[in-house]
Symmetry: C2
Subunit: 210 residues, 2 copies
Amino acid sequence: MKKDKVSRAVIRRLPRYYRHLSDLARQGVVRISSSALGKSMNLTASQIRQDLSCFGEFGQQGYGYNVESLRKEVADILGMTQGHTAVILGAGNLGRALLENFHFDRSGVRLTAAFDVCPEVIGHDISGVPIYPISELEQYLNAHPTSIGVLTVPGSVAGEMAERLIAGGVKGIWNFTNKELPIADSGIVVENVHFADSLLALSYFISEAT
Amino acid sequence: MKKDKVSRAVIRRLPRYYRHLSDLARQGVVRISSSALGKSMNLTASQIRQDLSCFGEFGQQGYGYNVESLRKEVADILGMTQGHTAVILGAGNLGRALLENFHFDRSGVRLTAAFDVCPEVIGHDISGVPIYPISELEQYLNAHPTSIGVLTVPGSVAGEMAERLIAGGVKGIWNFTNKELPIADSGIVVENVHFADSLLALSYFISEAT
């Protein structure tokens, strides 16, 4: 179903489609027109049709989209059905916030373990996820091939931890450290979460509005 | 310097420009060509020129951009020199992660207070920021007009807290709750941080790469 060369902008919108379609499904909506879907997402009907056409033929003229089947298709496109697994490196405030409040499973990702250096958390588990000493990372990844490493360590050790994750065979790093990671030509995918970019966009919109 | 109708995509890239220009300035780079700047940002030279032309005339043919003056211009466009202030609602894990590790000041925002319901944190301060009881929010905002409310409360109270922030006169909400906020036609700007969107994009790129 997937085609080559889908633009990054479209890919960035896919998770929003997934969220909106999930909300609609929860509300019991069975089908929706591209214009109604567009309205709820602040996109035009033609943009919706164009985005989704990158991946195949979903809608039907005069009928619109079947919410549940489109939701499933988008989930599939997003790789949510691939059985991705994740470990968290760093069980500090941010790591804990993810452990306690973020539903990895709702993104199709199974969080299997967290690692830290702090004796007070090692050996415990948070929301059912065990916390191991970081010294056991290699051993763990060897025994449990893992798709995603989540980096919530201090920036000072971000590079080193990224290298250990890559050596351990992860396919992607979800990077909260605000540091550029030394991934070179490892073939690894990095997704950076830059809080500052988001705050600066807010700052822009406030300044523009006032 | 600002022009109307700058596209959202350009605005979303501005914080990245700011980050890259800050890095370059720190490295002592005085001027840079649009093609070199583009290369470091994975954009084409013509996209760089086009983006920046939305805001005025920065570069000079054959010279490129003066890093420091472009950095300042971008900061100005982003509203970083407007003296924005912020309060955090919710000093749980995520609130603490922001209090302890996120440098609001580097985005031109002064974080002045945090609010919580938990007696154990109220009255203390974290990284020099005082934690007040949420019952004092209105009084505080009244005495200290605040630009930005940061929502790191549980989703169940997100709507109520947003309403109190809006009534208290904030201009923007930085929303980490994953809930749609009831902003209606308040004129408030909301910037949502959806961790799941980022994780799903990573999931997509991993699936695409393998």
